[in-house]
Symmetry: C2
Subunit: 172 residues, 2 copies
Amino acid sequence: MRVLGVDPGLTRCGVGVVEGEPGRQCRLIMGGVIRTDPDADLAERLLSVETKLTAILQKYAPDAVAVERVFSQHNVASVIPTAQASGVAMLAGARRGLPVTTYTPSEVKAAVTGYGDADKKQVTLMVTRLLRLTEAPRPADAADAIALAICHVWRGGAKALLGRAQSKGARQ
Amino acid sequence: MRVLGVDPGLTRCGVGVVEGEPGRQCRLIMGGVIRTDPDADLAERLLSVETKLTAILQKYAPDAVAVERVFSQHNVASVIPTAQASGVAMLAGARRGLPVTTYTPSEVKAAVTGYGDADKKQVTLMVTRLLRLTEAPRPADAADAIALAICHVWRGGAKALLGRAQSKGARQ
């Protein structure tokens, strides 16, 4: 299963593609950051995020998209552009007919570090370890997006395993 | 000049197309509300808003798009989906190469009623009068989107007039 993780943002939008199976090691396919010009028109910036995300979806052909859920508790100054960028990211996935799932930061942290209140450094460290990278993903902003993708592989896997267990139970 | 006004929302997204010249009476081309299924997947709902907006852009071919600006002071429960829908609306306009402008509710109210703190009823009343309609636009949610479009025609006009005055001054 190949997953695109998106840590939405208008100035910096983290992206990461990971391949793996539930309960197994994941493999990093790509990690990066989409940047838009802060001086550009808002609508142009959103179009730029969408165009670049669509190019990534075409190039890496993931099976699913995982996007960080935006809360109103986020930084008040950035919550609106972040929500707008997340809307565009979800739209880009849905337009390609892919399932789009959102995860809270706590869910992602818990998935990769075992602890929902883990800090950014811990997340980056665990992403580096889990993918057996020789150094932390660069740019650093990509780590959160990669963690989202890992979270989806594993959580999707947990559901698939549960589904299998349930159908097995039903047969008994 | 033909303008599409969008009052963004995920459950109800107001739309209105108006044609006019700065300082002259505007003509209503269409008004309506895009609805999405509250039980559907978030990404699917955003895709549905974008698909319907794109169909309106194609059918009515406006010269510009005016979208209500979303603030973090908005209703906390709805600010995130509203911001996501606004991002999708701006994207839809930008993708067609149209200029997209955002206006605050106060700017729109001031444009159509002369008073930035006007209530919804006053806005609807003035939209009905300004367009010389025999009754208020239906559904009611469309009135705000129509007011946005009128605001853009008039404000865009103010800028155009200013531009003309300036170039006139430069020639003297």
